[in-house]
């Protein structure tokens, strides 16, 4: 059934609801964060229909949430949030995605764009050379089976022991860089085989390293706590768990096809296969997913090490301080066991965030002492060549959205149309004409990620900010883009 704007109840200018009565199999309503225009965009593909499908999963509480950067995915839409109650609510690998713990890390320098303007091209080249990227890219780190297993258990803690991290990097990483409950025994040999050579690699697709300039500060006090200032050079790293995570998800989506029969779960879409959290299948997936999450934390940590080395290579002797400190590292594809207030009671739930970011507000116990008073930093990369944002979680996100907010700009144009309409070489020249240095392996890949294929990130940020599920700290604009 096609979903139309009149099927929604308008809750306020930035929040819309599809009631549970919309379709017989819905167990909870769907709420969409959007203004009028973004709601029209969301209705332009199957994203809302996919969110309604998610609302039929057993054991969900309160509502399925859809962020303003939503777009059609597979199973759950990108930009979806759903929480299931422990112990017997479900976990769904397809509602987390193949790139488990795909996420963003932000490193901040001590230099202004003005100071290093002439070195940006060299920085881009050094980053492209030092950070392996592209289809099938392999890293410089060779790990034995035991070392690899150690990394799966410990994530960033492993990286710290190996000299790729600093203690303060871990303090400023979601889950402090180590997802609890990782069980390498629940991971296939295939996943291990795929993951071992790829530690410390960016990969391809929409993953990137971007050098940005802070163009606006919206909250001086929060920016001071985070160490951000106007015209500052910062670096974003966007990537995930590479072939390892893809294989974990592939294995469990296939295995769970039998689990849904075993537990008598009816589904509108087989990509949403799931199992009760307290079932053997559910526990196995949680153990394997945590390994993939740790892989991704370690992967971004090694890349951060390589980014720091690149800055040293290019800037040593040219600026007073070429160091980079970590602002934060967030996951935007993950299932997390968290406590939230539901119906006035604090309960344990498994929050599925697929293309959505955890955004815990001030006072949260999972934040380090320096961030606890201001809330969790939320990193929102825009589309290539456009702005990115640093936000903070709020009390509103805790009350409304299981401590979640948006994750990016969100696509509006299909990849096939982008490939037809946009030439990678022309796009690269246009970006370079605007002063953005581009180092990219694949021109068709670059074309698919063109800014025209995405929504306006500033509009998305306006919605989450006005809706109260995040607040603005800083806006960034790119000066160099590195892609596989």
């Amino acid at each position: 059934m096609a979903i139309r704007k009149q099927d929604f109840t308008k809750i306020n200018d930035y929040l819309w609801e599809i009631p549970k009565s919309f379709r017989d199999d819905m167990r909870v309503p769907v709420r969409v964060y959007a203004d009028d225009e973004l709601l029209e965009d969301a209705l332009g593909d199957k994203s809302i229909e996919q969110a309604v499908n998610v609302a039929s999963l057993p054991g969900l509480v309160e509502r399925v949430l859809v962020m303003p950067d939503v777009h059609q995915g597979y199973g759950m839409p990108i930009g979806g949030v759903a929480a299931s109650e422990l112990p017997s609510g479900i976990i769904s690998p397809g509602a987390i995605g193949y790139d488990i713990n795909c996420g963003v890390r932000l490193l901040a320098s001590h230099v202004s764009h003005d100071e290093v303007r002439d070195q940006i091209g060299d920085l881009a080249t050094a980053l492209y050379r030092n950070c392996p990227s592209g289809v099938g890219s392999e890293g410089h780190i060779r790990l034995s089976h035991d070392e690899f297993t150690d990394m799966l258990r410990q994530g960033s803690k492993w990286a710290l022991k190996q000299g790729y991290a600093r203690r303060e990097d871990l303090d400023h990483t979601e889950e402090f860089g180590t997802m609890p409950g990782a069980d390498p025994g629940k991971v296939s040999e295939r996943a291990v085989k795929r993951g071992r050579p790829q530690v410390g690699t960016l990969g391809a697709g929409n993953h990137f390293i971007e050098v940005d300039r802070v163009t606006s500060i919206f909250d001086e006090e929060a920016a001071r706590v985070l160490g951000l200032f106007e015209d500052q050079i910062v670096v974003q790293i966007h990537c995930g768990s590479r072939g390892f995570g893809h294989q974990v998800c592939t294995d469990y989506v296939s295995d769970f096809q039998s689990a849904v029969r075993k537990y008598g779960i009816q589904l509108p879409d087989r990509e949403l296969v799931c199992a009760p959290l307290d079932s053997p299948e559910g526990k196995d997936y949680l153990g394997a997913m945590a390994c993939a999450a740790n892989y991704a934390f370690a992967n971004r940590q090694v890349l951060a090490h390589l980014v720091r080395r690149s800055f040293e290579e290019v800037l040593a002797g040219k600026v007073r301080d070429f160091d980079l400190h970590q602002i934060y590292d967030i996951a935007h594809n993950m299932g997390k066991i968290e406590e939230h207030v539901v119906g006035g009671k604090s309960i344990k739930v498994c929050v599925h965030r697929k293309g959505a970011t955890r955004a815990f507000g001030p006072g949260s116990d999972v934040l380090p002492p320096d961030l606890k008073p201001i809330g969790q930093p939320v990193l929102i990369p825009g589309s290539m060549g456009t702005a990115s944002w640093v936000l903070l979680g709020t009390a509103g996100s805790m009350e409304q959205s299981f401590g979640s907010t948006c994750h990016g700009a969100g696509r509006v144009m299909s990849r096939s149309r982008a490939k037809k309409e946009i030439r990678g070489e022309k796009l690269r020249d246009e970006l370079q004409g605007r002063g953005i240095r581009v180092r990219a392996g694949s021109m068709p890949g670059l074309a698919e990620e063109a800014p025209q294929a995405y929504k306006d990130v500033d509009r998305v940020i306006e919605v989450v900010s006005k809706a109260g599920i995040a607040r603005k700290v800083a806006r960034l604009e790119p000066v160099a883009v590195i892609k596989g």
Partner: protein, 143 residues
Amino acid sequence: MHVSTPDHHVQEIEHTADWAIRVRARDLIGLFTGAAEGMFGLLTDLSQVTPVRQFEIELRAIDVETLLIDWLNELLYLSEEQGVVFTGFAIHDLTVNGGARLRAQVDGGHPSELFKVIKAATFHGLSIRRAEDGLQAELVFDV
């Protein structure tokens, strides 16, 4: 992208975030072959790839749709592990009887360029349906 042979027809269809194809074929073997050819056709120009190695594949699954996705993901895994793309698919046995099983020989070669990585073939919206002159399925690939 279009691939058309006497046994199957593959067409790329619109998808906002990922890649998707529609496969039409006379029978199941044509459908499985077309799906594999369509998937690798998204990654590179298959006409420029010379097959150099052969691999045997045997799979069992709980039903034919699961077998189709397992088949495509098996090929993706082998492709990444061996650094090849597959251009030839000889399916010797494809039986659906309660569960489903497949035995095939596939030919792979080294591509000069890969446009992208497919993370996985997904079950999203998947059903193998009867269509005019045979069978049809739509497949979404996570990229």
